[in-house]
Amino acid sequence: MALTETASPETRPDSDPSGADPTDSEQSSGLVSATTAAPANSIDAVLGSGDHKTIGRLWIGFGSLFLTAGIVMSLVAQLELVDLDSFAIAKDQDQLTQIWSIGRDLTLFGGIVPILVGIATFLVPLQVGAASIAFARGAAAAFWSWLVGSGILILSYIMNGGPGGGRFDYVILWILALGVVVVSLLWALICVATTVLGARATGMSLEDVPATTWGFFVFAIGSLLALPVLLAELVLAYLDTKYGFLPTQADRTVLVSIANSVNLVPAIYWIAVPALGMLVDVISVHTKRTARSHKVILAVLALYGFVAYGAEMLSFAWRGRPIAFDNALLVAATLFAVVPVILVLALAGPSLGKGRAKLTTPLVAALASGLLLLAGSLAALLGLVDPFLGFIEELSGDRIDYSFDLFGTSFHEGIRALVLGSVILAIISGIHHWAIKIFGRSLDNRVGLLATIAVAGGAVLWGAANIVAAFLDQPALPELDSAPQSGVEILNVLSVIGAGLMAIAVGLLLLNLLAAVAGRVGSSAEPWRGLTLEWATASPPIAGNFEEPPIVSSPTPLAGNSEAQL
């Protein structure tokens, strides 16, 4: 029988940002809980907070804002492609490259990853039963430095910098800003991983942590091993550009390929690791039936992380070379990435059939997220046809007449759209699921369902249109002077509709968050309860998270509590 020694949530006071001072031992161990002398709700309480809950909310809020901006910029770049014969929005090719590039930077490093870091910063300490995140002030510093770095990144584009930029100093500034953003994200992820490794509740072994926490742990460890390789590329790009060996405008593809390597298959799967973890927990709670084989799920998530991060490191260091048999590891990663997705869906899926499912936003978004990721992983296999035929050709010695070389085409853009859609759906699912904990109110379910449908539909349109356009030789980096094949323009219209739907959906998520924070939507009553530790405390959690340090003995510590699931 599982046991927690936490008090009943109903007896807990509401969250108090000006909680008690930390003890000396807490300070020296890095486990400093929410402590500021400032009154609640003041600006000081936010700006100076070391509370992981406040920092998590800030990550999620600003991340959603930047994600909306990033997808809108991607939409603008897609809009320009509709009319391939002339420039309607951008002045020239360089400006189009900048619009395209800022869309990608903001979507990934400004939006998706920061929101995931925000959910991890908020949730992981609660799920492992810790009073706070490890190095709480470090976690706060990571957020503020990321925010400053992101602001400078946007500024560098505005001042005609970034890939395709015409002002040398601001191209340099873009490299530095991206470096600051990457270091800040690494810093935040060190705090998350340290919390999982060193601050778990008594009795909670590493194999007992919830799937969500495990997904974020794999995400953090993988990022710590992979993102420094991107940083190495940025150091080199900085020096090369500064001393004139990396032309910024004459050959814009070098800078683009450095920042873009993470967007290629299979490296792009790295952002899907925590999404899969969240999916498992959300399905379990909303079907009121825990997923089978907890340890197997953790092992599969780790395998997925291993595949994705291995590919990511290779992509960074190889500056986005094609998937070919001379880098067979990328081929293997693309192939095997399908297996963990299928396994996780297979293990979480029976909960749906045997449980009592309700059509809530978290469940619908989680299911759509899993299916979209599976679709993306399967579609990515098309990229293996070319290296496979090349391998056969090399073995047999006979020339095979084929044309499946998708590298440099919009193929990767299509897969990226499907994977991004999947992760955004997982984010919608997770934020709706834990909204009562994060904001103290649930979000509007109808708006959530609308956003879910828009993301799913948008990602399918955006992704499928780009994959098909790849076979008509549409380039990955938009080039307006290339002569398009017939049929591409209608595909680009579909792509624009898809990107537009996703922008609307992310905007809806942002509005839903703001309305919940303002108390305009949802309810403060808990809409559902889970079996993991975050559900053993008040909503939103009290300062220090738990009145007493919890003691657990199973992955579902609240399973013995008859009131665990409403």
Partner: protein, 203 residues
């Protein structure tokens, strides 16, 4: 097998032992060290690949007129290896609550760090390789400069821990900070050995 409730097996009058103190600083340092290793591995990987590509075309790797002397890199290696022994002295001293020796050892490690930076500056002046002179120069400077930055970060860490030790935060019962600083310093020295071989020895 039936799981047994903790409530049923532990008598009520016994209080639970306090949980083991988490070694968060050491864990965090280990993770940061792993990231640092990957940063240098990435740079060295790009360096060695580029160098191999250049040599494969029949060109020389180092620009003509540029000479890397061996004396300074070897002295830098000896300096850093010596600093490891001194760091071991610091860790042992704090374990015995021998604060004077801890302060001396941590101070000497910082002196070794300063000596390494000074020797690197001297070596670069001897090499006489202008960053804008040749397309290979930024790559060489990226590797050497990044390692210098890592040494700077490690010295900052050792300095902060030395001050905290001076303030009485660490002793025989809590050596975590000194352990953490020592771990990061060891990694820094190990990374220099990779730079020493890849850049200075193989040239």
């Amino acid at each position: 097998m039936t799981a047994i409730s903790v409530r049923e097996t532990i008598p009520a009058q016994l209080t639970a032992a306090p949980p083991a103190r988490p070694r968060l600083l050491l864990i965090g340092t280990a993770l940061a060290s792993a990231a640092t290793i990957m940063l240098m591995s990435g740079l060295l990987g790009i360096y060695l690949k580029t160098r191999a590509d250049v040599i494969a075309t029949g060109e020389q790797w180092l620009p003509s007129g540029v000479v890397i002397p061996l004396t300074q890199p070897n002295m830098m290696a000896v300096t850093l290896v010596l600093s490891i022994l001194i760091m071991v002295w610091a860790v042992g001293s704090i374990g015995r609550d021998d604060r004077p020796n801890t302060y001396i050892a941590l101070g000497l490690v910082l002196v070794m760090g300063v000596a390494y930076i000074a020797q690197t500056a001297f070596l670069l002046s001897l090499m006489d390789l202008g960053a804008a002179d040749d397309s290979k120069a930024p790559l060489i400077y990226a590797v050497i400069g990044t390692h210098l930055a890592i040494v700077g970060a490690a010295m900052l860490y050792v300095g902060v821990i030395a001050l905290r030790t001076l303030a009485g935060n660490y002793g025989s019962k809590d050596r975590e900070g000194v352990y953490g600083a020592a771990l990061f310093w060891y990694v820094t020295v190990a990374l220099y050995m990779a730079v020493w071989y890849a850049v200075y020895i193989t040239k």
